[in-house]
């Protein structure tokens, strides 16, 4: 078949299969060439080296609503799916909330979370791009996964929050530019530091919430190289960025909360993040 394109055997259409001997298992053994075009030895080391022969497809079914990003590793694919389904529920819940607020507004002019006198954002004005929402959610999770946030929500119930004083989680469903969003997150996390647990020398590790090391390692690796942390601090950096910053702010915690100092001093750490 001189004229046929150079596709590996496994990429024949499924209809071909009935006559010929069953082709090798689709995902790992059937590929004649690697992703970069080089030929592979038949049934070779492919299975043992997932990094080399990245499968071009995702693991989702042909019936999936839209193409999914490549995810060669099951664990990550499952985690993404989980985030995605959770996200969809949140979007639905948020849209319902907007509708409820809308009805409320017609009867009494509340400003609600939209903060404007115009009718509340129709669903068309919401951020719905999955990748954006997932990224924003991750950033929010980093902030919420801190001792500071825990203490904050325990100390200040939501109905007692005063806007301008008590930090509020940025709303991931609203349309913002990337810079605007990132800045909101920064300011929010800085503001949360007010509730950092008081530290002493040799603060014990058990108090710190372990975070997903897979995510945090890239961040804390960068921030730990920049901060003048002692060797003791390095063990904290492995878990969380916050304790490092707690150390920087130590001198401020006793006095008033000094926003200026927070914004200037640890800024180099922020630069390394997201």
């Amino acid at each position: 078949m001189a004229c046929s394109p150079r596709t590996p055997p496994s990429y024949r259409s499924r209809g071909d299969r009935d006559a010929s001997p069953p082709p090798p298992a689709r995902w790992s053994l059937g590929r004649k060439r690697r992703a970069d075009g080089r030929q592979r030895a038949e049934d070779a080391e492919g299975p043992a080296k997932p990094a080399d022969c990245r499968r071009p497809d995702s693991f989702t079914t042909p019936e999936a609503p839209k193409p999914r990003p490549r995810c060669a590793d099951w664990a990550s694919a499952v985690e993404e799916d989980e985030m995605r389904t959770r996200m969809n529920k949140e979007i639905a819940r948020y849209k319902r909330k907007l509708l409820v607020n809308d009805c409320g507004r017609e009867r009494k002019s509340l400003l609600g979370s939209c903060g404007s006198k115009a009718p509340c954002a129709a669903p068309a004005d919401l951020e719905t791009d999955e990748s954006v929402l997932m990224r924003r959610q991750k950033q929010i999770n980093y902030g919420k996964n801190t001792m500071a946030y825990d203490r904050y929500i325990r100390e200040v119930p939501r109905h007692l929050r005063q806007p301008g004083i008590h930090p509020k989680t940025p709303n991931k469903f609203k349309k913002y530019s990337r810079r605007s969003w990132d800045q909101q997150i920064k300011l929010w996390k800085v503001a949360l530091h007010f509730w950092d647990p008081p530290t002493e020398e040799g603060c014990d590790v058990q108090e710190i919430h372990p975070v997903d090391l897979g995510e945090m390692e890239t961040e804390s690796a960068e921030s730990s190289s920049e901060s003048q942390a002692s060797s003791q601090d390095h063990s904290f950096d492995m878990y969380e960025g916050t304790p490092t910053k707690v150390r920087h702010l130590d001198c401020h915690v006793e006095d008033e909360f000094d926003l200026e100092a927070c914004l200037t001093e640890p800024l180099k750490d922020f630069a390394a993040m997201s």
Binding site: P22, A25, R26, F59, E63, W74, T85, P210
Partner: protein, 231 residues
């Protein structure tokens, strides 16, 4: 719920130290090395067919416990990574240990059955499970008498039909086309292979009819396949 009994998770086949490890993982996941627990469970399921049939439940319990305690998924990640590694080396596993291979397929189907993500099955496992079942439905596999003692309770054909009984309907919902193709293989095997044992033929016919009936047992089928009354 009180401490899960050994019965419930079939951990009696583990040694005492490992049993303790597993019990702690269920009660206090943060206190153990969850990646190690995942490896222990996978290793054991590759050897113990009885355990591999129900290991999914225990895995689910550990995942829930970890999620509730720390909001993490270290165990699940370790489990899936290991599962994926074994999947990628499955031909070698099959060559090295037919019994281990059968256990693996049983295990991965069990995981697919039990481990759900927000009430949806794990999409990432759909194609790998199909791949495993396809392998079991290959002519060389169907005819193989000696695969762990033939199509009896330990064999490949038995594994294939058992897994299809358990997860076939779900799998079909996730990807109907591949299920159609799988059954083409099964049907062709049934009709064309001359060296199938009569038990293998019976098992294949039963699953063909089971699917045709919408993954349900019909009274007629039950009578034909499972009734002890001889004509």
């Amino acid at each position: 719920m009180g401490e899960p009994g050994r019965e419930e998770y079939r951990i009696q086949s583990f040694d005492a130290e490992t049993q303790q490890l597993l019990k702690t993982a269920l009660k206090d996941p943060g206190a153990v090395d969850l990646e190690k627990v995942a490896n222990v469970i996978v290793d054991h399921s590759l050897q113990d067919r009885v355990f591999s049939k129900e290991a999914g439940r225990m895995c689910y319990a550990v995942i829930q416990a970890e999620s509730k305690q720390a909001g993490q998924s270290v165990f699940r990640r370790g489990l899936l990574n290991r599962l994926q590694q074994e999947y990628q080396a499955r031909e070698q596993l099959r060559a090295r240990s037919p019994r281990g291979w059968v256990c693996y397929v049983t295990f991965i189907c069990n995981i697919f059955d039990y481990l759900r993500v927000n009430n949806m099955p794990m999409m990432a496992l759909v194609n790998p499970v199909y791949d495993c079942l396809f392998r079991l439905a290959q002519p060389d596999s169907l005819s193989e008498e000696e695969e762990v003692g033939g199509p009896g309770p330990e064999g490949g054909v038995d594994c294939l039909v058992l897994q299809l009984h358990r997860v076939g309907e779900q799998l079909e919902k996730m990807n109907r086309q591949r299920m159609d193709e799988l059954f083409v293989l099964i049907r062709d095997g049934f009709l064309l292979l001359t060296d199938l044992s009569s038990l293998a033929q019976l098992l294949l016919l039963e699953i063909i009819e089971f699917r045709a009936a919408g993954w349900k047992m019909t009274p007629a089928a039950h009578k034909y396949y499972y009734s002890e009354v001889s004509d």
